[in-house]
Amino acid sequence: MKSVLKKGITSHQVFWPLVGLALLLLFNAIFTKDFFLLEIKDGHLYGSVIDILNRASVLMLLTIGMTLVIASGGIDISVGSVMAIASSTIAVLLSGKTVDVNQHLVSNISLGSALLLTLGLALILGLWNGVLVSYFGLQAIVATLILLVAGRGIAQLITSGNVITVNHERFFYIGGGFLFGFPVSIFIVGAVFLLTLIFIKRTPFGLFLETVGINRVAGRFSGLNVPLVTLICYSISGVCAGMAGILMTSEVRSSDPNTMGNFIELDAILAFAIAGNSMAGGKFSLSASMVGALIIQTIRTTIYSRGVAPEIMLVVNAVIVIIICSLQSERVKTTIARYSWTQGTAE
């Protein structure tokens, strides 16, 4: 019976991250008051679970891009800076003059073109990373480190070092609005996730990506355009980071180029790894990565709602991450299995 289970559900990569997430939720169900309570106010759903989904959306977007890049055998540590650039860009584009007596704001350009321009810029930044890695042969961590450092400066240049407050009601709908009772951000993430999944599963891209990650030489010998595959990964990562920047700017209604997306690349890498994906590249599960991002946000929300003292918050965070990662380690699993087996026979 046990062996049947082991070959069935547990062999699926998304299983153990889901177990981790379930344990976290179970903990909250027992110890956190009203954790699963959903309220309807003005036709919108409110509650801790919705809150986690909403807040995790930025990280999930970044993790989608990060998953593809690491699967190709690289890494993209510039995503936080790309977020900041996107944030500054859209904030500057949407700021404008207030005219007439009603204090209506007239932005410099329309919302649609502002979004397109910002995403276009994010795409260019992703392409820049991709070209450095795949055509210039730079090591991924070095190539993206350049943009990590320089990008922060570019973001500050765009806003002249200031924090820009955005006044654009329709723009706020992206990060703060509701659709069918759910936050809009959830739909955005869902759409990007599904599109990426289709791209991976219904085109040759998934096969090419895994081949490049596992054995790039064999890929080249089999006629794959290895540099192009790599370039596509970094481009998607750039666009995802751009979307994340827009989403966050819309949510906080301002753009601070100094703090926006600081260290968030580490969270995205962690979300990828906590999901049981290999940092060496190759085989990966995008769904598991999404669960990984949710785990990270759930830990954060749990710590906040438990009222953990700020000084030890990071330590608690680290301990939980270690536990979840150990859950997936083959060595830990076999040790536990052996232990429980000897216990069983002793009885």
Partner: protein, 516 residues
């Protein structure tokens, strides 16, 4: 004076790696003041033997004696302190340090708590002078040629009071004159009583400088011979493991039907004067549909290099390429695949198998690569293709969703062949397709090759085993020292003929014709 004394004796050395016997009861002995060559094809066990000797790998069974005392080196560093020094193929020195620093790195001469540079420089000059070299030892190492850097590496190895000096492929990056200088130094060291182990795949050099030769094959000790009394032809025979007398039939017996058709066939692929500096001398080659053409030669002689040029893995820097009489430019494997070529490379693990993917994914990879990103093979078509080739090539796997890394070597090789058959190639290049797989699978792969040709595919076949070469090929080009030195036509291919050409014994394609 003390010549002919055994300096180093290795007895009955055995070493296993997971799944393979790397060394099986190998014997080796080195005398004072001798240069002793270790030769053998790839995978013969040369480097494993050296690793065992220098402590880079542990000895499983067997004994090693140095000057009569039993030793067991725990690490290359330990071996060096015992008097066994190695100079590796790639010079592993620090290019940005001075020559003197390189020679004395890790064992600086100290004087009142500080490094005594004067002494170090003086001693460096002295130790280089021992090798007849005079240069500014305070200059950075990378200001000197590779040949000089090699001398510095040797001088560094010798300074540690070496008794045994191991030179691992020292001449592969040297030109003729530089190699000659190295030999002069080797002869000088000989007179000082140092025993030198010389590993090389250049047979000319073996005859130029060595006193004795030890031949290894597939981890086994074939024998140790006096260089002067071992003709070249016999040496090659021992390396490849074929007796000259042995004769095996050709799969394309004269009178074989369709032979006339094939003879009239236009070449599918034609390369005129294609070459690449430092890799392979310019050569002419043409392959017609329905024929199996062999490339014969020792490892590193230019066989694989030719295949890589044809398939666009490396770019040719001279010559023209024609496919079906059209001049074409092949810049990448993708170009070659679109022109109807396929290539099973020599190193299955690193160049062809994608270990973590399934059998199905591995089989359809090249076909999907040929179609590119836009045209997706539906899952159902993929499965049909995979199952078809699993059946056709008799690949033993529980199913097409099995990960390819769980298959045996022979079955993995069949999967890579299936990968290319799925693209329906007009020209298939097979580089050592039967290496490291069991006899049964070997036989099946040979049959596949012959059948492919009968179905009209042009096959370029590379193998170190002359027996299967003679069995499968209608024509064979023979390589020596990065050069195509001749071609054997129908009826001229024999193991002896090929061996004579490889060894340079009698040179010229005519030699193959007068077999006994």
């Amino acid at each position: 004076m003390r010549e002919n004394q055994d300096l180093l004796v290795m007895k009955n050395i055995t070493k296993h790696f997971p799944g393979v016997v790397a060394l099986s009861h190998v014997n080796f002995d080195l005398r004072e003041g001798e240069v002793h060559a270790i030769v053998g094809e790839n995978g013969a066990g040369k480097s494993t033997l050296i690793k065992v000797l220098t402590g880079a790998e542990s000895v499983e069974s067997g004994e090693i004696f140095l000057s009569g005392k039993r030793i067991e080196a725990k690490s290359p560093h330990h071996a060096q302190s015992l008097g066994i020094s190695t100079v590796y193929q790639e010079v592993n020195l620090c290019p940005h340090l001075s020559v003197a620093e390189n020679i004395f790195i890790g064992r600086q001469v100290m004087k009142s708590g500080r490094i005594d540079w004067k002494e170090i420089n003086k001693r460096s000059e002295r130790s280089l002078a021992r090798l007849n070299i005079k240069l500014d030892v305070t200059s950075n190492l990378d200001e000197y040629s590779v040949a000089i850097q090699q001398m510095v590496a040797i001088s560094r190895a010798l300074d540690a009071s070496a008794k045994v000096l191991i030179l691992d492929e020292p001449t592969s990056s040297l030109d003729k004159n530089e190699a000659e200088n190295l030999f002069t130094v080797m002869r000088k060291l000989k007179t000082e009583g140092i025993g030198i182990i010389f590993i090389t795949h250049f047979l000319d050099q073996v005859y130029q400088v060595t006193d004795r030769i030890t031949v290894l094959r597939n981890g086994e000790w074939v024998g140790t011979f006096d260089t002067a009394s071992l003709p070249r032809l016999q040496l090659v025979a021992k390396m490849i493991g074929r007796d000259i007398e042995a004769f095996h039939g050709n799969a394309f017996a004269p009178g074989d039907q369709g032979e006339a058709d094939r003879a009239q066939h236009h070449p599918f692929y034609q390369g005129t004067h294609i070459g690449r500096k430092g890799t392979i001398d310019p050569l002419d080659i043409s392959i017609a549909k329905g024929e199996v053409m062999g490339l014969a030669g020792l490892l590193g002689s230019g066989r694989t290099e030719t295949a890589r040029l044809i398939f666009g893995v490396d770019r040719a820097d001279s010559g023209k390429t024609f496919v079906e009489d059209q001049e074409v430019a092949i810049h990448s494997p993708h170009d070659a695949i679109r022109l109807g070529m396929g290539f099973c490379p020599e190193n299955r693990k690193t160049e062809s198998i994608v270990a973590d993917l399934t059998v199905r994914e591995n089989i359809i990879l090249a076909l999907q690569g040929k179609k590119g990103l836009r045209e997706f093979l539906p899952r159902k078509v993929q499965e049909e293709l995979a199952n078809k080739y699993i059946q056709l090539l008799n690949i033993s796997t529980p199913g097409c969703e099995q990960l390819v890394k769980h298959l045996s070597g022979g079955n993995q090789q069949k999967v890579t062949i299936a990968r290319w058959l799925a693209t329906q190639p007009a020209l298939l290049i097979l580089d050592e397709p039967t290496r490291g797989i069991d006899i049964g699978a070997k036989d099946e792969i040979q049959k596949i090759i012959v059948n492919l040709a009968k179905e009209g595919v042009a096959v370029l076949f590379i193998s170190s085993e002359l027996e299967e070469m003679v069995h499968c090929c209608e024509r064979a080009a023979v390589y020596r020292d990065k050069k195509m030195i001749g071609e054997l036509g129908k009826g001229e291919i024999s193991e002896q003929g090929i061996m004579q050409m490889i060894s340079g014994g009698h040179g010229g394609p005519a030699a193959g014709a007068n077999e006994p």
